[in-house]
């Protein structure tokens, strides 16, 4: 309906956005009738989201005109932002930002570089940036999950950790079960994603590719490729981040510092 009224893509986009906003406002109205008040938060979030998307879109337009090597910088910036975001979740862990950054760079960076080199990611910016950003987002999420889980496991098991230390075990030996738990916790959402790929998880990329005129079967297969990369990035990132945070949880004299109140 809208596409018949607006032929210019920009006008069409704005019209579609307007309809979406109306939908959100309708939800706010219904919630309000049930005395759930979402007005303020929804309005602010809608506005913020819209401005962000438009800004990113405009920057991408500028970027796509630039030389292709500049995508490396864009991806690096994304990794910095991702590290800052997930480090904020683990603020009380010393060096959380550095740990997150290394984890995400190794986890997502290796996957992006390798898959681009192999040709599974098109090195042109138009595909490298969006696919790369999904891989980085996956690293970010699994990093936050792994750090959070590791910290809470240590806190809950201070007695066992110190019993192990008191028996003369190394910190690394003592925290083996908690490293396992942290990495597994970070991977569960990714494993579920793989498992339910065809049914539940049809996110932006496939829809976008079909809309952009790709062959639906190819779009579906590529969806699988992306989810596979997301899985790999999650695994690498959570592993690296947990192993890095592991050594920061203990003092040089092999005393537990993270998680214990001492």
């Amino acid at each position: 309906m809208l596409s018949r009224l607006f032929s210019d893509p920009l006008q069409l986009g704005i019209a579609q956005a307007a309809v979406t906003i109306l939908l959100a406002l309708a939800v706010v109205y219904v919630a309000r009738r049930r005395e759930v008040h979402l007005e303020r938060e929804t309005l602010i979030s809608l506005l913020r989201g819209f401005v962000q998307v438009v800004a990113v879109g405009s920057i991408l337009v500028l970027l796509f005109r630039g030389p292709s090597w500049s995508s490396v910088f864009v991806l690096l910036l994304m990794m910095l932002a991702a590290a800052a975001t997930s480090a904020r979740r683990a603020r009380d862990i010393p060096g959380a930002f550095a740990v997150s950054f290394y984890g995400i760079v190794v986890g997502s960076g290796v996957v992006i570089a390798l898959m681009t080199a192999l040709g599974a990611i098109d090195p042109r910016m138009e595909s490298l940036i969006p696919v790369g950003s999904m891989v980085i987002a996956s690293g970010m999420n699994s990093n936050a999950l792994a750090l959070e889980r590791f910290r809470s496991e240590l806190t809950a098991n201070v007695g066992y950790v110190e019993a192990g230390l008191a028996l003369g075990a190394t910190p690394n030996r003592v925290v083996v079960p908690y490293v396992q738990a942290a990495v597994r916790a970070a991977m569960i959402p990714r494993i579920d994603t793989l498992r339910a790929l065809g049914i539940v998880w049809i996110p932006g990329l496939m829809a976008g590719m079909i809309l952009a005129g790709s062959d639906p079967v190819y779009a579906a297969i590529y969806q699988f490729v992306v989810v596979g990369m997301i899985y790999a990035a999650a695994g690498l990132t959570s592993l690296v981040a947990t192993l890095l945070i592991r050594s920061r949880a203990f003092s040089p004299a092999e005393q537990l510092v993270l998680g214990s109140q001492r």
């Binding site: 007695g159 019993a163 192990g164 008191a166 028996l167 003369g168 075990a169 190394t170 004299a253 005393q255």
Partner: protein, 236 residues
């Protein structure tokens, strides 16, 4: 086994364990303040005092689970910061109020300390250790199905499997009911005597202190306020 009395070098003549102005301050609050004590070989010393007096904090410092902010500890005359923490903790065993057994079997728990040093604890040694703590035949039991008293005995055997020279006990029986308490206490006494272990035991029970120790140290507000035979401390 490494912890037997006869295998120990008898060259050091002074106190086995000595602290010098040992202090730990956390957030401007002294948990342990200027503690200087000496414990002779084979001596059993009770640590008594009001709750929050710093007894547990002192024990943690001796095991170096916490770092002193001042002063130090000498193990057979050697500053303990020169000894690798792992080696130190093997030589100074610690038993806590709760057993904190690792999930798995009793045997796996006993083997944990030696395994951490890359040593294999022989099946016969495990059986012998369990015999000594009155749990013969328990090797393959799952630790999740032990009673509180049994678990604490396994914890003791696990510490002994490391062959410690000094034993730190932080209220080792206070989580147990009275019958189990006496059982574990007697067991510890026998083992200390047999192996000539030097021992520091924290207890809230003056009678237990009298039964087990030759001497007591009274701690209040992080400081040692008295030290001497139990009878003198009790009257203080």
């Amino acid at each position: 086994m490494a912890g037997e009395a006869e295998s120990r070098e008898a060259t050091w003549e002074g106190p086995v364990l000595r602290t010098e102005h040992l202090t730990r301050v956390v957030d401007d609050r002294p948990l342990v303040e200027d503690v200087s004590i000496a414990v002779e070989l084979g001596e059993v010393v009770a640590m008594v005092g009001p709750s929050g007096g710093g007894k547990s904090s002192l024990l943690r410092l001796l095991n170096r689970l916490d770092e002193p902010t001042g002063g130090t500890v000498f193990l057979e005359g050697r500053d303990y910061r020169e000894i690798a923490p792992r080696e130190l903790r093997r030589r100074i065993g610690m038993l806590l109020q709760q057993p904190f057994l690792f999930p798995g079997t009793v045997a796996e728990n006993l083997a944990f300390g030696p395994a951490a040093r890359g040593e294999l604890l022989a099946t016969e040694t495990i059986a012998e250790l369990l015999e000594r703590v009155g749990l013969g035949g328990y090797a393959d039991r799952d630790v999740s199905r032990l009673s509180g008293g049994e678990a604490q005995r396994v914890s003791l055997a696990r510490t002994l499997a490391n062959g410690p020279e000094i034993l730190l006990l932080d209220e080792p029986t206070s989580a147990l009911d009275e019958a189990a308490q006496l059982g574990v206490e007697r067991l510890i006494c026998n083992i200390i005597r047999q192996q000539q272990l030097t021992c520091l035991i924290v207890t809230h029970d003056p009678e237990q202190a009298e039964r087990m120790a030759q001497r007591a140290i009274l701690m209040e507000n992080g400081r040692v306020v008295e030290s001497g035979p139990m009878s003198e401390i009790k009257n203080a």
